[in-house]
């Protein structure tokens, strides 16, 4: 079965610096797949490539069967990709309600949007209680909830999440992870980039580990969870093949 999202042989450059070396990975429909790695591993750049914010110098990105590398971001979003950006990036001067509607910006079906609005509020009671509040005044954890709810409003086939647990207290981390699992059970494919390997591997189905722009480990999450080589990948040593 063709994966929902596939990266094939991606080389990315920032000026003279190479960030990805022949990066290849795939995300099966209905799965939670996580991309792990330490600092300067190239995790965030991967998200930028998928979203069309950075163009790869070589390789292909395919979504739902079609090539999307080279397309402008707003076209990629319209194809059914949702985004929960790093550090949330909710619109600070807009209300919670307005943020949610921005999530549905790419959609034309008003009835469907209304339906999803109610559905999302049911899933995120904490957000529902603050609809008119200015989003910039929410706490970090609440903003993360809002960012996820906002992405769901687009009724995407695939949601990209960039470090969803960064900077959150343990309690909020629990909530976020629970919600990611729930969203996935309701049918949305999730591709997430995470620094916190232990947590990500608790809920993911498949995982890839990135080190300085190359995939050094990959496989089912339950296998990687107990693989001692992950520690090497994170703490800077060379990963035994």
């Amino acid at each position: 079965m063709t994966p929902l999202l596939a990266l094939d042989g991606i080389d990315t450059f920032y000026g003279p610096v190479q960030a990805h070396f022949g990066l290849s990975l795939s995300v099966g429909a209905g799965r939670i797949v996580c991309l792990l790695g330490g600092n300067a591993s190239g995790k965030s750049t991967t998200m930028k490539v998928i979203l069309g914010l950075v163009s790869p110098r070589a390789g292909e990105v395919r979504f739902d069967g079609a090539r999307i590398d080279g397309l402008p971001t707003h076209r990629i979003i319209r194809l059914g990709v949702g985004s929960v950006p790093e550090a949330r990036r909710i619109f600070p001067v807009m209300s919670v309600r307005e943020n949610l509607f921005m999530g549905a910006y790419a959609r034309d079906d008003r009835a469907g949007v209304k339906q999803d609005f109610d559905r999302v509020l049911a899933l995120f009671p904490r957000v529902a209680g603050r609809l008119e509040q200015q989003a910039g005044t929410l706490s970090g954890g609440e903003q993360q909830m809002l960012a996820m709810a906002r992405a769901l409003m687009g009724r995407p086939k695939l949601i990209l999440m960039d470090e969803p647990t960064m900077g959150l207290s343990p309690l909020w981390v629990d909530r976020v992870l629970e919600l990611i699992a729930t969203i996935n059970k309701q049918g949305t494919t999730i591709f997430m980039v995470e620094q916190n390997a232990n947590l990500a591997l608790q809920i993911a189905h498949d995982a890839y580990v990135l080190q300085t722009g190359r995939i050094v480990l990959e496989g089912p999450a339950e296998k990687l969870r107990i693989d001692p080589r992950i520690r090497d990948a994170y703490l800077g040593g060379a990963v035994a093949a």
């Binding site: 003279p16 706490s139 309690l171 981390v173 947590l199 300085t212 060379a238």
Partner: protein
């Protein structure tokens, strides 16, 4: 004997987030001390607070017994504290040589007369012998510093910094910092983004600097390198110090491993009121 650098109860908040939380640490003269911890632990913020680019909400920084937490960055550089930056900040349009010469700015005596900027301007235009000799001396010093990096930078003396490879830029940054003849050198992730060969080279250079007696404060993520180089290690997470001691003591500390790989327990639900 009091440590060269003493940081006491240093605190910095950004809006609702406490980036550095009552941090205590010290560095004795001649030591190489490392600050480690995951992303967002507050390490670079600590550097900014010590080097004068940022102001702490509370706490003290003492250098050689003198309080410096309220001083501007230029003054702290004049006290011979040098630093490099996490993403490498060289002067892109200056040559390699000029970059290093800027590092020596605080050592200019003949070219920076005490009488003030007008005198400095006139001296620069007239260019008396004392100034020319000083410049020649500084150029010699700069070349000697660059020679530490083998033939990485020396053949590129006149090249503009923007044309250098990433690794060379990081090396140049260190060379520039060394030109200040610092008593304390603060290195922020000097090997970030470098491959194993380049990392090993950099480790050798830092080792040489340590052996020459330089006091070094290092932020690094490559823990095996940290363990080999450091006299002592402080571990930060969420702005707080969670472990400290000799490398061997810290290496197998479960708190450290957890901090890096992430908290493995999915916590019990706490009372809503706690939030």
């Amino acid at each position: 004997m009091a440590a060269l650098l003493q940081v006491r109860a240093l605190t910095r908040r950004f809006g609702g987030v406490t980036a550095v939380d009552a941090l205590d640490f010290e560095v004795a003269e001649g030591e190489l001390v490392s600050l480690i911890g995951p992303n967002g632990a507050g390490k670079t913020t600590t550097f900014n607070l010590v080097s004068g680019l940022d102001r702490a909400a509370s706490g003290e920084v003492l250098f050689d017994g003198r309080r410096i937490e309220r001083l501007a960055a230029e003054k702290i550089a004049a006290l011979r504290i040098a630093r490099t930056f996490q993403h490498g900040r060289v002067f892109a349009n200056l040559s390699v040589l000029d970059n290093v010469l800027i590092g020596a700015h605080t050592r200019l005596k003949a070219a920076r007369p005490k009488l003030g900027p007008i005198a400095e301007l006139l001296v620069a235009l007239v260019g008396p012998r004392g100034v020319r000799e000083e410049q020649a001396q500084l150029v010699e010093d700069a070349k000697a510093i660059l020679a530490r990096f083998g033939d990485r930078l020396t053949p590129r003396l006149d090249h503009p910094a923007y044309s250098l490879s990433y690794a060379n830029r990081r090396r140049l940054e260190i060379a520039r910092a060394l030109a200040l003849r610092p008593r304390l050198l603060m290195l922020d992730e000097p090997t970030a983004g470098m491959n194993p060969t380049e990392t090993a080279e950099m480790e050798a250079i830092i080792g040489d600097l340590k052996r020459s007696g330089l006091t070094i404060l290092l932020i690094e993520h490559k823990l095996d390198m940290v363990m080999r180089l450091s006299d002592r290690v402080y571990v930060l997470d969420d702005g707080k110090r969670i472990a400290a001691g000799r490398p061997a003591e810290v290496r197998d500390d479960p708190a450290v491993i957890e901090a890096y790989l992430g908290h493995s327990r999915i916590g019990e639900t706490r009372a809503e009121a706690a939030e």
